[in-house]
Amino acid sequence: MNRFFRSFALMFGAAPRKPEPGEVTPAGKALMKYKKTPEQVKLRKEKIAHEHEHPVFSNKWKYRRWASIVILNLLFIVSYWFDVQLVEGALTASRFVGFHMADLNGALQVMLAYKEVMINLVIGTATVVIAWWLVGGRAFCSWICPYHLLAEWAEWLHLKLAARGWAKDHAFHRTLRAVLWFVFLALAAITGYTVFEYVNPVGIVSRALIYGPTIALLWVLFLLGIEVFYSRRFWCRYVCPIGLSYGITGAISPLQVEYNLEKCLHEGECRKVCLVPHVLEVTKMGYASDAFEYIGADCTRCGMCIDACPQNALRFKLRGLDKII
């Protein structure tokens, strides 16, 4: 339970910390001790040297994810343009073969602004909450969100520029997102308008894809510009309230990324590619509290760390599946 609260606090902006000795399980302690024996330290150094000589990098999950984002958004477009009525609407609210779906954050905004709730909206929101709880909450971000894909390309450009010294990453405090999440919900309730939707690039991009380009896309371009030149993944990391809403949904999801302390060499390759590297602090030497640990609630289940890990110390895990079988 304690670990769950820590993962939740981390999502709302708390700094990652080493676990207290009392929080580490006997298995975790034993593994740590074993890893610090001189033979193991030597072996690890050799293994890492070998990794540097023969780097392996997989794009398996990345390309699956990109395919998922493209196909799902294409479904919306095709459904409308060819009138097949498979997925009607946009990402803010839709009907999937007739079933109502409503974006959790969008629905919250509307409920607070309008102060009346239609049964359709309740059904749509509940469907989405259950569906995204099952597949891991922020999986919405990395597997569905069209802005995420654009931001990934902007991030690629940013890293290229940064390597040449033409751009520098300016970090923001992660509490900013939690504050904005509350502020935008409060603004919806106070003003009676869905204020956040005005700057929401996810809605803007989704609608532009389906209903045709709009001048609001300039705002999205501006945000991408910030991400390329000023701050890596600015929107997704520090601003997006949608991400936090889904993060809360998936905090106790059965689908998790599992960390295997024994296999890990603590190279830090995973943290370099991660959108939310604070959830991977656990992979630092001395930060794990058990032999196996789930990555925190803020994890988008994008699988980049799984692709990046040279030792297969990270993997997708369906919680409780072994108990059922």
């Binding site: 459904s79 409308y80 009607e88 609407g89 946009a90 803010t92 609210a93 839709s94 009907r95 109502h100 409503a102 974006d103 969008g106 629905a107 509307v110 602004a113 309008y114 009346e116 239609m118 359709n120 909206l121 749509g124 300016h170 970090a171 923001f172 405090h173 509490t175 900013l176 504050v179 904005l180 502020v183 935008f184 603004l187 919806a188 003003t191 009676g192 308008y193 869905t194 204020v195 956040f196 939707e197 005005y198 700057v199 809605g203 803007i204 609608r207 389906i210 209903y211 709009t214 001048i215 609001a216 300039l218 705002w219 520090y238 601003v239």
Partner: protein, 258 residues
């Protein structure tokens, strides 16, 4: 003693370590970004407060203010409309971004869906489900804005298509095709006195032509709108005068609802 106190006072003024400095910069940057983001989102208030836009909303729309809050900006109403009358507003309309509207002159709602499909599609009740028939709709009210341009007011007839060749607007002519709306530009008329707004009105009894004078030889007729008008804009789209002699005022919806 005094020296000690002085030293203690001086300590906080000492140069901060680069790490502390970066921490402080990050904090200020974050506060700045937060304020900027909220301020930018509130820019959306401007077109609302100044009433920059006065849009005709789809059938069943709540009064403007409530409509903007209840709409989830998904465009499901856009997708079900058989004549594609509904469009989504752009970022220049502030909080109205992504909210549906109808530009009646370009493509009016002619109720060719037979029910109010957009209302049924709406997931949030922004298009209120209390409406089930086209006669119950109150989007606005038609008004003869340019009587001088009105052919009937001038006692003139009309020949040819109501709108010019490149006009893409659709209308359902029951006598041509009961189920599929066709292009207005492809449908020709030959009228002794222009009565297009009355003839193509989808609501019975919403508009009629009345004689301008009691004189029997006077061919002039005036389109008179009744309280049964739902404000669909079919008359505005159909009017052959350029710009249209008859237009729909969306604002009146508010007054009526109040």
């Amino acid at each position: 003693m005094t020296d000690e106190i002085k030293a203690a006072e001086v300590v906080p003024k000492k140069k901060m370590s680069s790490r502390e400095l970066e921490k402080r910069r990050m904090f200020l940057r974050s506060v700045g970004a937060g304020i900027t983001m909220v301020s930018l989102s509130l820019v959306g208030y401007y077109p609302i407060l100044t009433k920059l836009f006065s849009r005709l909303r789809p059938p069943g729309a709540l009064i403007e203010e409530k409509f903007l809050s209840a709409c989830i900006k998904c465009g499901q109403c856009v997708q079900v409309c058989p004549v594609e009358a509904i469009k989504l507003a752009d970022g220049d309309e502030g909080f109205g971004i992504g909210v549906p509207y109808i530009d009646a002159r370009t493509q009016a709602c002619d109720f060719s869906c037979d029910a109010v499909q957009c209302v049924l599609a709406c997931p949030t009740g922004a298009l209120t489900h209390e409406i089930a028939r086209k006669e119950e709709v109150r989007m606005g009210v038609a008004r003869l804005a340019r009587p001088d341009a009105c052919l009937a007011m001038r006692g003139e007839g009309f020949k040819g298509a109501a709108r010019s060749g490149d006009f893409k607007g659709l209308h359902r002519y029951v006598e041509v095709d009961r189920w599929t709306p066709v292009r207005i530009a492809d449908h020709s008329y030959d009228l002794e006195i222009c009565d297009l707004c009355v003839r193509e009105c989808p609501i019975t009894g919403a508009i009629s032509l009345q004689p301008v004078s009691a004189h029997a030889g006077d061919k002039r007729r005036m389109p008179v709108v009744t309280s049964q008008c739902v404000g669909c804009g079919a008359c505005e789209m159909m009017c052959p005068a350029e710009p249209a002699a008859i237009v729909v005022d969306p604002k009146i919806v508010k007054e009526r609802a109040a």
